[in-house]
């Protein structure tokens, strides 16, 4: 009887513990086609992490964030972190998009088509230029929010702003928790 009671107690306490220490949010695999028709799976590579960024052409905040994304992709490519863009505009003009990718020098980064916005909904993406970082080892969410907090609606901070995504990737590679783990992303609202 005593053992039974104690075990229930411990179980309840573990529940209370889980309440104060948020558990990792698991992320299930998905496979999408990129704009050239190539199938790409989230856990298909040998990467340590994947940064997935909601993208649509014509969003000024997204456009201004591209150099930061490009720098992140370059910096962490060798360290096992990949960057994917997720197309959240179901009516994206692919020919115009490809031209824009060349101008922004990001044609080498995969652009994934998400026609029903199912992946966008799964991550609860609200805006373009919003990023999620997935720890592919733990298959869990490591960060969600702004790439950098430099760009606003018609505004650009004079200083470089906080490079949230970059810091989250560095923390993940060290086996640490991103701080902050969630930030508010500015960008263009996605219509669901």
């Amino acid at each position: 009887m005593k053992i039974w009671l104690v075990s229930i107690f411990i179980f309840s306490c573990s529940g209370a513990f889980a309440e104060s220490q948020p558990r990792e949010t698991p992320v299930a695999d998905f496979t999408l086609e990129d704009i050239d028709g190539k199938k790409i799976s989230l856990y298909g590579g040998t990467n340590k992490g994947v940064a997935l960024i909601a993208f649509a052409t014509g969003c000024p905040i997204m456009q201004k964030s591209v150099p930061t994304v490009r720098a992140i992709e370059q910096k962490f490519r060798q360290k096992g972190v990949a960057v994917f863009f997720l197309l959240v505009n179901a009516n994206e003009d692919l020919a115009a998009l490809k031209k824009e990718l060349q101008a922004y020098e990001i044609s080498h980064i995969p652009f994934l088509k998400d026609p029903g916005k199912t992946v966008a909904s799964r991550f609860n993406f609200k805006r373009t230029a919003e990023a999620v970082l997935i720890d592919t080892g733990k298959k869990a969410l490591a960060y969600q929010g702004a790439i950098v907090d430099r760009f606003g609606y018609g505004t650009v901070k004079v200083n470089q702003g906080n490079p949230f995504l970059e810091r989250a990737i560095e923390a993940m590679l060290k086996g640490e928790k991103a701080d902050p783990m969630y930030t508010e992303a500015k960008g263009c609202l996605i219509s669901f």
């Binding site: 009887m1 009671l5 014509g58 456009q63 009516n91 606003g152 018609g154 004079v158």
Partner: protein, 587 residues
């Protein structure tokens, strides 16, 4: 081992609450939203409204308030008399505790003057937000007047109470959300119909008229609105930017002065557009007007279709960095003028219109040009603005690639002068280059033109204190010593600038607001043109009021902790300038 009755009782007594707790925990875990950012159901989205005095109120700039109380109002409502005294008491008791009281009028017919008179009758001195489009009041669920809504910024902008006066104090005292929405007895708000709005008939024409003039190929992103399917994708963003007053940009309050090209959307158009988006953006029937746009509609033409009288172009490309800014570059435009030249209109050609922050034209007169050339050689003209001896004319307005000066006026370029461009760009995320070309047009031979000049209303040597939410700088009074006709105003402040207005006091003593930019934004360097040049009689006193917000609630503020002194650097310093373009009239 068998348990005794007493032991069973203790086990049950201990276990039941534990199991209940466990059950509750599992239930609450399952109810947690998938993201921590998920707004609660009664979350109030940001909005911008002008009050009855023409001041701008942005909800999310009130983040430092402990609560915001919005009171619905409409003129001729006897119910307001019953609550006015109590409302005054509440305001004086709770304002010191960080509660902000505002009223909101969604009658869609009460004028600002009538609202002011109504407030005076009730002895109230609160700002009344004019919600003529009714979108804010309806989204708050307000049904009658007077009805009270309590919003708590600290609870994720939660609407914690809506109803009659008696629930307001409990809602203010309660630190947790208590969504006790009651229906207040009162006069119904006359909401106008918002159903059955047709895309082809109503929405597409609004978009064409109010949005696509700028959001088009070669101008501002998003530029790819090829039809309904694109609008559907951008609908949520269109709704948000219109509700927040970011789009169309409010360059000046249309209630003051006869402004030629304000970019505002009407209250009816706003209501139709927002409700259509909120109702799920039905396509309806009819040909899609955006899909069948004629190519000519996508171009903004000069009023005159003739070829230019002369064209000047920068000698070299200028490089615009992918990130950040290219600030205040001075570049010569063409050679020294060999004869007096009058400019009636001009058209600006750029490879990167969306990246232009502002472009001004500076005329360097012969004597100054000579002096600077002897010191700096070829680069002489480009040093002219630093001397403070020249004035500048803004030649770029967001969305409009041409300038035409009003009838009977033109810009005179004296023989021996040279033109210089002041350029300021914002990076687009990719490296770009530009080489500005300007087409110039002479005035028609039949038109007798007078030279345009400029009058600066400005004050120097002031300091905006750190973290100050409202700080007003007044320019010294200037008396106009001859009659003038004002053709346009060009306000200039920096990142802390919030609002600016110019007031004329006529010789008889009557005062008038000539122009008011209540939501000044450094990112929108736009001149304010008068539809008909405004006559200012001799002896009129002119004054400009510049308002600054150096608090953390100003989203443009780079450093609220810094005292900001007068100066030309747009981040560290502030300026207070109203550049008035005019021509002289006759006595």
């Amino acid at each position: 081992m068998r348990m005794k009755k007493r032991q069973k009782f203790i086990a049950a007594a201990v276990l039941s609450p534990l199991l209940a707790l466990l059950g509750f925990w599992l239930y609450s875990e399952s109810r947690k939203p998938s993201s921590e950012k998920q707004p609660q159901k009664t979350f109030v989205e940001d909005f911008r409204l002008l009050d009855h005095e023409g001041r701008v109120h942005d909800l999310y700039r009130m983040a430092d308030a402990s609560s915001i109380v919005l009171v619905s109002q409409q003129n001729g409502d006897a119910g307001l008399a019953a609550v006015a005294a109590r409302l005054r008491e509440l305001n004086s008791a709770w304002s010191p505790r960080g509660v902000r009281f505002l009223m909101i009028n969604a009658s869609a017919k009460d004028s600002r003057e009538d609202i002011a008179a109504e407030l005076e009758r009730h002895g109230l001195a609160l700002p009344v937000l004019v919600d003529a489009a009714q979108i804010v009041s309806s989204s708050l669920g307000l049904e009658t007047t007077p009805e009270f809504a309590v919003i708590k910024p600290s609870l994720g902008w939660g609407l914690v109470y809506r109803g009659s006066l008696k629930g307001v104090v409990p809602a203010l005292e309660n630190a947790k959300p208590a969504p006790s929405m009651t229906s207040a007895q009162g006069k119904p708000i006359p909401y106008l119909r918002t159903d059955g709005i047709d895309y082809a008939e109503t929405i597409a024409p609004i978009l064409k008229k109010r949005c696509i003039v700028c959001h088009r190929e070669g101008l501002y992103p998003p530029q790819n609105w090829r039809g309904y399917e694109d609008i559907r994708e951008w609908g949520a963003m269109i709704r948000e930017t219109v509700r927040k007053g970011l789009m169309p940009p409010m360059v000046a309050d249309p209630a003051f002065g006869d402004i030629a090209d304000h970019m505002l959307i009407t209250p009816d158009e706003t209501r139709w557009l927002i409700s259509w988006i909120e109702n799920g953006m039905p396509r309806g029937r009819g040909k899609d007007p955006l899909r069948h746009r004629r190519p000519s509609e996508a171009k903004v033409q000069l009023p005159t279709q003739s070829s230019p009288d002369f064209t000047l172009e920068m000698k070299e490309d200028i490089a615009i960095p992918a990130e950040g800014f290219l600030l205040y570059q001075y570049v010569k435009l063409g050679e020294i003028f060999t004869k007096d030249t009058w400019i009636k209109s001009l058209k600006l050609h750029s490879r990167v219109y969306p990246q232009i922050h502002h472009i001004s034209l500076i005329r360097v007169p012969p004597a100054l040009l000579k002096e600077l050339s002897s010191k700096h050689g070829e680069k002489g003209a480009e040093q002219a603005y630093m001397t403070g001896k020249v004035s500048k004319f803004n030649i770029w307005s967001p969305g409009r690639t041409w300038v035409q000066y009003p009838k009977n006026s033109a810009l005179k370029v004296e023989k021996g002068s040279q033109l210089v461009l002041e350029l300021h760009y914002i990076g687009s995320g990719k490296p770009e280059t530009d080489r500005i070309k300007v087409d110039f047009y002479y005035p028609p031979k039949s038109e007798k033109v007078r030279p345009l000049g400029n009058l600066l209303m400005t004050r120097k040597n002031f300091v905006v204190p750190p973290r100050r939410r409202e700080f007003i700088v007044t320019t010294p009074k200037q008396t106009v010593d001859r009659p003038i006709f004002i053709t346009s105003f060009f306000p200039h402040m920096h990142m802390r600038g919030k609002a600016i207005k110019s007031v004329a006091t006529y010789p008889g003593g009557r005062s008038e607001v000539l122009v008011s930019a209540p939501a000044y934004d450094f990112n929108w360097q736009k001149g304010i043109r008068m539809r008909i040049p405004k006559k200012i009689p001799k002896g009129t006193e002119l004054v400009t009021y510049c308002e600054y917000d150096n608090s953390g609630q100003n989203p443009n503020n780079p450093d609220p902790a810094a005292p900001v002194r007068w100066g030309q650097r747009s981040v560290e310093n502030e300026m207070c300038v109203m550049n008035v373009i005019y021509y002289e009239g006759r006595e």
